[in-house]
Symmetry: C2
Subunit: 272 residues, 2 copies
């Protein structure tokens, strides 16, 4: 449904698309790739593959799609992020289970020349960064069969050290966006909007504060946690989806996701 | 070890690399991404992510790396394919269990200008294609928890309809390579070597025969199945690794993988 809506909004059909990337934390099976099933359901020719870098999957997928389109490997790429977080939560762990939700998002990445005048957003720049950490982890995998004593243990479900993540990731994110903007000759105050990863309200406030040098106004860094909860990689894309209509041509914003890994994906966009 | 060997052969260190992609059928866990752990072990700055499109993962990873390097998102990308096939085989199924092996491969994709004179290969063209099929499938996944009656059932292990795959995939592969070569103004007979996916000797002979219009000579389409067995996405890369030293500058070859999905990834390369 998300994919069809993305195509409809872009005024395009499956025939205009050459590739489907399913980018999410929670892939249902190893193969056939889930993306190929989505491709088949939509009737898209071309190719498809799955990718995973946890909560940052959607922005990492965006960069892969931008690279493929700019390089001519595809005319348009659909980046789909189906997140079924519920199924790997530990309902005996108060620190994790009630904060997640399920959702699916889809973004169509096209050549500039294929987009109607005044429609959509241009990708100004993408910046990806990862630094290994075990503070958010899920050990569920096919190798577990080799050690039967571990089957069904809590470390095969979602586990996180919330406070450590908060302290360590927030400054990394602010620094990554700051460096990206500096490289573009931009200041954070030029941004009309920050669609940040939707895991924790205070984390987003802290990041926005570090960037702006003041508390953000509500519409500068919109929060969708009250309605959708944490939907992993889908979160920042839902925020973008819900809060972009009022932007004017030329307005700048940043979509930034962050999470397990640690991984940070930051995409600066301009309203066309 | 494979990654370190790839860096050593290229005369490069971790400091020259900006990204690590782990592309394979058999990812050990959902997150943190396995690629970020590899990145950390090697001491690479930059970013990393996992991708999966079964047996074709390595060639799809190659295209993603080529796109990222050509686009300037990274100076060099390491594509790593660790395949631990043993752990998801059904040892009660004679049709599948004895044909697989475990292996890990690594390829360094760099800017042309960073590669020493006469070293390595140039990527002439990449061609990816997928068409949905359930004839090779593995349902092992986190959602299985939701249906306890299915736990431990054979469909959570590797399952394939070998003869159907043989009949349906072989012509698709030959056609894909043929179209790619035609687009480049090349004939199959110009290829000094075909490093085909290593699943089945007869499949490779059939594909080579369709392309060349005659039986291939042994060194035209080298087979490593006798030593390594089917190592999923690692297979065509091992064949490339073992059988490239004798090629002369300007010689052309094609690395082509195919498998579950169905997915086909074809990379035409030229000896520098």
């Amino acid at each position: 449904a998300a994919s069809r809506q993305a195509l409809e909004r872009a005024g395009k059909t499956a025939a205009d698309v050459d590739a489907v990337i399913v980018a999410c934390s929670n892939l249902q099976r190893p193969y056939p790739a889930v993306s190929i099933e989505v491709q088949d359901a939509l009737g898209v020719e071309g190719f498809a593959y799955d990718m995973n870098v946890a909560c940052s999957s959607a922005t990492f997928g965006l960069q892969a799609a931008v690279n493929a389109v700019e390089n001519g490997a595809a005319r348009a790429v659909l980046v789909v992020s189906p997140e079924i977080c519920s199924a790997h939560l530990n309902f005996r762990d108060r620190d994790s289970h009630f904060i997640f939700g399920d959702a699916c998002t889809a973004i169509l990445v096209e050549r500039e020349s294929d987009v109607a005048e005044g429609q959509g957003f241009s990708v100004v720049s993408t910046r990806l960064r990862t630094r290994f950490s075990n503070n958010i982890r899920n050990n569920f995998g096919f190798l577990n069969r080799a050690d039967e004593s571990g089957i069904g243990k809590p470390d095969k479900l979602f586990v996180q050290q919330g406070r450590k993540v908060f302290k360590e990731v927030s400054p990394l994110v602010a620094e990554t966006i700051q460096n990206q903007l500096s490289g573009l000759g931009l200041k954070a105050t030029y941004l009309s909007r920050m669609w940040l990863h939707q895991a924790n309200l205070n984390m987003n406030l802290l990041i926005a504060r570090k960037l702006l040098g003041r508390d953000p106004q509500e519409q500068e860094a919109p929060v969708i946690l009250d309605e959708y909860a944490n939907t992993s990689s889908a979160g920042s894309i839902i925020a973008f989806h819900q809060y972009h209509e009022d932007l004017q041509s030329g307005d700048l914003g940043v979509i930034c996701s962050f999470g397990a890994g640690y991984s940070i994906g930051s995409v600066v966009v301009r309203r066309r």
